[in-house]
Symmetry: C2
Subunit: 184 residues, 2 copies
DNA sequence: ACCTGAACACCGTTCAAGT
DNA sequence: ACCTGAACACCGTTCAAGT
């Protein structure tokens, strides 16, 4: 609740951990995230890392919070200007662009789907996707049974697309998902 | 090549390792597979396990080889009696049945897709799925661009469906995939 | 209230010694 | 030719001691 007074060193440490993790993920190796290494790079003890981020997923989610927020916030404007399924298509293409550069964003999406991350903004991605789907259902463009979790699970396929095949495969996969959402 | 003379103790050990792994996977815990535990249960040294199965995936693939073979062999008869997309639907429903009981089969499928397992029967799953898709393309029921790897990646969503939601979610996901494969 | 870092636990992998 | 199992490496997690 009123987590008012956080000591400034704690805030600073948290920040440096996130920065270090971001740097580690952008590393040439291809997105490995070793927690020991992150703590060392951030200049904090492992206990401190663990205090701020109880699991690797919490850390990942924080690292990509900005990106996720942008994605989530993009939903409303898209829905205002496009038919639901078009909005979804455009949104997913934006997602692919993000994920091409920052592959970890997919891991963050998968993590955010199944855990109570984002204590402040509960399940915002879920809500955003749910909204698109609801609009689609109302317009008869989306089958009634599916929910946001279904879509997120299917999008998980993207996180297993090898880097080298990304351009060829990612768009095909999204196209299959979007078209599959239509009612028969 | 001519891997003719394999010592009988080696064969027996390999067999006991697979049996132990199978038992471990059927355990109540929910499909954990600790290699140390498998070696111990099989009564062999860890080195022996590693000699027979260089990676966890190789072991998984062997454990579910039977199931995978059955799935693969089911493709031809289905194609003979059904329209391609119907055949695919039925086949995937069979897959869901398998996976409900033996959840690890999905892991084996994912593993077999991206590695050179099954030294004897290279990529049989890939071929089988490819055949269905080719029939579908010829009949104009499947979009031309997709390949078996796309479908396998999408099916990967199933391995992340929580046990409790399996019945509700698995069929929806398969339906979305199959319908998404149709040309627009 | 928060931090540190040694220590623990776990698990995949290797390898010298055995048969 | 194959096996054993101690040993190593790696990494997530904990906790007593410190500020």
């Amino acid at each position: 609740m009123g987590s008012r007074e956080r000591r400034s060193d704690a805030v600073a440490n948290r920040d440096r951990i996130v920065q270090a993790a971001r740097a580690e993920l952008s590393g040439s190796d291809g997105g490995e995230l070793k927690l020991h290494a992150v703590a060392k790079a951030a200049g904090v003890g492992q206990g401190t890392l663990y205090r701020h981020f109880p699991t690797r997923e919490h850390l990942l989610a924080e690292v990509y919070r900005h990106e996720l927020t942008q994605l989530v916030d993009a939903v409303a404007p898209l829905l205002a200007e496009h038919a639901p399924l078009d909005a979804l298509t455009i949104w997913m293409q934006r997602l692919i662009e993000y994920a091409r550069v920052k592959r970890g964003v997919m891991a963050a999406i998968e993590a955010s789907a199944w855990q109570d991350l984002y204590a402040d903004q509960h399940h915002r991605l879920d809500d955003a996707l749910g909204t698109v789907l609801d609009h689609g259902k109302a317009a008869g463009e989306v089958r009634a049974e599916v929910d946001a979790a279904d879509v997120i699970l299917l999008l998980g396929a993207l996180s297993r697309v090898p880097e080298a095949e990304w351009d060829a495969r990612a768009h095909r996969i999204v196209a299959v998902i979007v078209d599959g959402l239509r009612p028969r």
